[in-house]
Symmetry: C2
Amino acid sequence: MPLKHAILALVLERRGYGYELVQRFEERVGPGWRLNPSAVYPALDQLERDGLVTSAARHDGTRRSPRIVYAGTPAGAAALDGWLAATDAPLEPVRSELHLEVAFAQPRHRAALAARLAARERACGELLGRYPRAHGAPLVDAAVVARLRAELAWLADARAALARDDG
Amino acid sequence: MPLKHAILALVLERRGYGYELVQRFEERVGPGWRLNPSAVYPALDQLERDGLVTSAARHDGTRRSPRIVYAGTPAGAAALDGWLAATDAPLEPVRSELHLEVAFAQPRHRAALAARLAARERACGELLGRYPRAHGAPLVDAAVVARLRAELAWLADARAALARDDG
């Protein structure tokens, strides 16, 4: 289920304009995703070209320019239902730029690598502190927490291994 | 460190042609990355445009067309050294299409979602069976193993939660 389908699911739940959909996505899926708001508008355009959503300009009293409000179509509802009825889930790659840095660092880069692992550890800890959320999707939060805890445990082990190699 | 830099690191270790670099990347970084071989050639083109590698056609006896062999330049070595000396490591997003499916599935999709989680569990288990590798980068393998084990534990919990909701 790519991002586009998630945006469609939100629009089908309740019509909305772009920025509001960004906020609703973040509320539902959480801060771990780090949604890029600028990815939402091309997704909406594509959904509209495919006939899965419609858009309408709506004026309100407080803004000079109209807001574009998106609503789902029956074809959109049917498409989403079909995607959510799929039973396969192809494996996603296990990738992190940090893995490449670990794989290609030379002994002379060891201090910099240790600093990078420490920086990542702090960032992971901060993100973990925002979970679980009071009103998030509990199973999604559990997935993010599991991933962050695993990364934190690996980061601690990796830093210890680098320190041993230095000794 | 994006993929492009990893390709540069490989070329600097030893000159090579495209497909050989794909193989060396996979040996070093492992099957979890699921490298798309077609991503390597544009990376090499970009590195060459930036003056970080050079290419030369080399004929050998067994092939009709020449192979393009890439070699690192001094500027490439300096650039890689600079990247590996960086001490920051911005947090990467925690994303999985499965998280979106979990977040947006309706009760009527619960059986399909359970099947998807089971399919992902099998795929994760198979990939985990390929780790740790005899000649891989041990810290990278440890990172992939930690991530896969965390995902497997979450998948088991998520399937149990879905089964409870059905009861």
